[in-house]
């Protein structure tokens, strides 16, 4: 009876294809395309439906007024605040355009600002071959990138035929870029060395690296900047004039290097023991084995953390305001005290925020690109 039943059922679902050669069929239409995307992402459950409705309502409430304030009701030209107010009741961007030079160059002498512009162009030329490995003539680009810091230092501060410009004149975006990029460029190699040192078998190196890292992590950056601006002159022999900006650069670099070291140590610890054993067994010595096998893998794993530290450093450059250097935020605050333009803090802070957002978002996107490019394993 039972047997008969199964054979009957088997007969009724007799396949219409040769077993072992089932053809590939297209997926059901409700699992692909726009409608499927909406169903999957916006309306998949009651909670999801409520969230979707609330989000749409929120955007409806917030987006039109902000856009109006920022663009449609905004004044783009005008002598002062009252002129702005006369034409529009939104943002007064005339203020920003009037102060744009100040925001960009700080107090850098006007007749020498071409040097800043040239440094920026050279910076782009130096950075592209580092970021993209398909750049034509990359080898020469990388060599140029090595000498770029010296060229930029010479262009910005002068000397050797160029009129000297004291670093107190630096300010605005240019100051942020100088501090941020110097910090980024030097904290990574320093962080790598500290991380390797912390893993070292040699006790002196290990103790030095551990105490350095722990000291840096235990002290706020502001404190270090204060030390840089005031206390260092007590330790240095009287009469030595140690440039304030240079002190700041050193402190910022050391500070990030401490954090960088810990991020990279995390990456180093994720490398399986077998990788070290394989390179040992092949007879590779310490440095080649680190450079060719361990670090490429450890740094790849650490990319999110490294970029996190870079972004943190970049944003922390605003702290230089504490010791009297005027970064964009400082310039903005100073500009706000101008009686012609009182009460425009929204515009100023939004503008400075936009600058930082573009820089930091760029870094974050680049790190994603890099992670994808370096992905050589199949993720399951």
């Amino acid at each position: 009876m039972n047997n008969e039943n199964t054979s009957a059922m088997n007969a009724s679902i007799k396949p219409d294809y040769t077993v072992g050669e089932h053809p590939d069929l297209p997926p059901p239409s409700n699992t692909v395309g726009t409608i499927a995307w909406v169903r999957e992402n916006l309306l998949s459950s009651p909670a999801n439906i409520i969230m979707t409705i609330l989000s749409i309502y929120f955007l409806y409430k917030v987006l039109p007024p902000s856009l109006n304030w920022m663009f449609f009701d905004a004044a783009y030209v005008g002598e002062d605040r009252n002129a702005c107010r006369a034409v529009a009741n939104g943002a007064c961007w005339a203020f920003i355009s009037e102060r744009f030079q100040l925001f960009t160059y700080g107090f850098y002498p006007i007749e020498h600002r071409w040097r800043v512009d040239l440094s920026f162009v050279l910076l782009v030329v130096a950075v592209i071959p580092i970021l993209f490995d398909k750049t034509p003539y990359r080898k020469y680009g990388l060599i140029f990138a090595m000498v770029f810091p010296f060229i930029a230092g010479w262009l910005l501060t002068g000397g050797l035929g160029l009129a000297p410009v004291p670093t107190e004149k630096f300010g605005g975006f240019m100051l942020t870029l100088v501090v941020g990029i110097t910090g980024i460029a030097f904290s990574l190699p320093l962080g790598i060395l500290l991380a390797l040192g912390r893993q070292s078998n040699l006790p002196i190196i290990k103790v030095f690296c551990v105490s350095f890292i722990e000291f840096i992590r235990g002290v706020p950056l502001i404190t270090l900047l204060f030390v840089a601006s005031t206390m260092l002159s007590y330790f240095l022999p009287p009469g030595t004039n140690f440039d304030l900006l240079l002190r700041v650069l050193i402190m910022v670099t050391l500070f990030s290097a401490g954090y960088m070291a810990e991020v990279i140590r995390g990456g180093l610890q994720a490398i399986p023991k077998g990788q070290f054993e394989a390179s040992d067994a092949m007879g590779l010595k310490y440095w080649p084995s680190m450079r060719l096998i361990v670090l490429p893998q450890a740094l790849k794993i650490s990319i999110p953390g490294i970029v996190n530290t870079f972004i943190g450093l970049y944003k922390d450059t605003t702290l230089v305001i504490i010791i009297g250097l005027l970064d964009p935020l400082g310039i903005g605050r100073a500009s706000l005290s101008d009686t012609k333009w009182t009460g425009l803090s929204n515009e100023v802070y939004l503008f400075v925020a936009l600058f930082f957002f573009i820089s930091c978002f760029g870094m974050s996107r680049y790190s994603l690109y890099l992670e994808n490019k370096l992905q050589t394993e199949h993720r399951k």
Binding site: P272, G274, Q275, E277, A278, M282, Q297
Partner: protein
């Protein structure tokens, strides 16, 4: 001097010269734990040795002492005339001559198959890149995967990865090859392709020490089978005697456990 004695001394001399690995009363501890106890082993040039034993018996640790991935604390290990000690120079010399294949392949995942193979020749032997690549391709052909040369290890099957690992070791032209359970991490259908490569390699006269439980492989290629338990060499014999007529109870027990199921 009579003819016969002359031949005799020559025979003795070549025997002495022919010993490439000499392990003398070697002991090793992990902290308090005595892992290797009084290991004595002489390996002749070109000899194929299979080492087996229950897990934790110290067989992997022993062959890892031969290229100093593990340190021994007492006794003497001399590899091709170089004694292993804390002297880094000696360790370097030995590691150039000794290739190793691991249970988990340990290929470098960020490098292509070809780069995996050329890395050590270029950086340790200072071979020019083109020459190293040519040689690597030869060895990849020998392990029958030249077409995968530009892929990354993660894109290959386990068996293919292990064959790359063998090619990678051979690129250093080692005189001695150590295999640490080379097939234990493989799916059953891939074990054969790796063993085939190893059998072919064995026929070419390289000295091989192989920790494995593949008793078929042991019967085919081994000159000597060594059985270890509890950190000691319990028994060593030709494969024929070892399998047909094991001397020790522990060997008999082990063989009955791995052969009859």
């Amino acid at each position: 001097m009579s003819n016969s004695t002359k031949i005799g001394t020559e025979q003795m001399n070549t025997d002495q010269d022919n010993i490439v690995i000499r392990i003398n009363e070697m002991h090793k501890w992990y902290g308090q734990f005595h892992v290797l106890k009084n290991i004595n082993l002489n390996v002749k040039r070109g000899e194929k040795i299979v080492i087996c034993g229950p897990s934790g018996s110290g067989k992997s640790t022993m062959i890892r002492c031969i290229n100093r991935l593990e340190e021994h604390q007492q006794g003497q290990i001399v590899v091709d005339g170089t004694e292993l000690s804390n002297d880094l120079k000696n360790i370097e010399v030995v590691r150039k001559e000794v290739g190793m294949v691991f249970q988990h392949f340990n290929l470098f995942p960020h490098l292509t198959v070809l780069e995996n193979c050329t890395l050590a020749p270029i950086w340790v032997r200072k071979t020019p890149r083109l020459e190293a690549e040519e040689m690597a391709m030869q060895y990849l052909e020998r392990v029958k995967i030249p077409d995968q040369a530009n892929k990354f290890p993660g894109q290959l099957s386990g068996g293919q990865q292990q064959r790359v690992a063998i090619a990678r070791s051979l690129c250093m032209k080692p005189r001695i090859m150590l295999f640490d359970e080379p097939t234990s991490a493989l799916d059953p259908e891939m074990i054969k392709e790796v063993l085939d490569v190893m059998i072919e390699l064995a026929s070419e006269g390289i000295t091989m020490l192989c920790v494995t439980h593949e008793m078929g492989f042991a019967k085919t290629v081994a000159d000597r089978v060594i059985f270890m338990d509890g950190g000691e060499i319990i028994e060593e014999n030709s494969p024929q005697h070892f399998f047909d007529n094991p001397q020790h109870d522990r060997t008999r027990l082990f063989l009955s456990q791995i052969l009859n199921h």
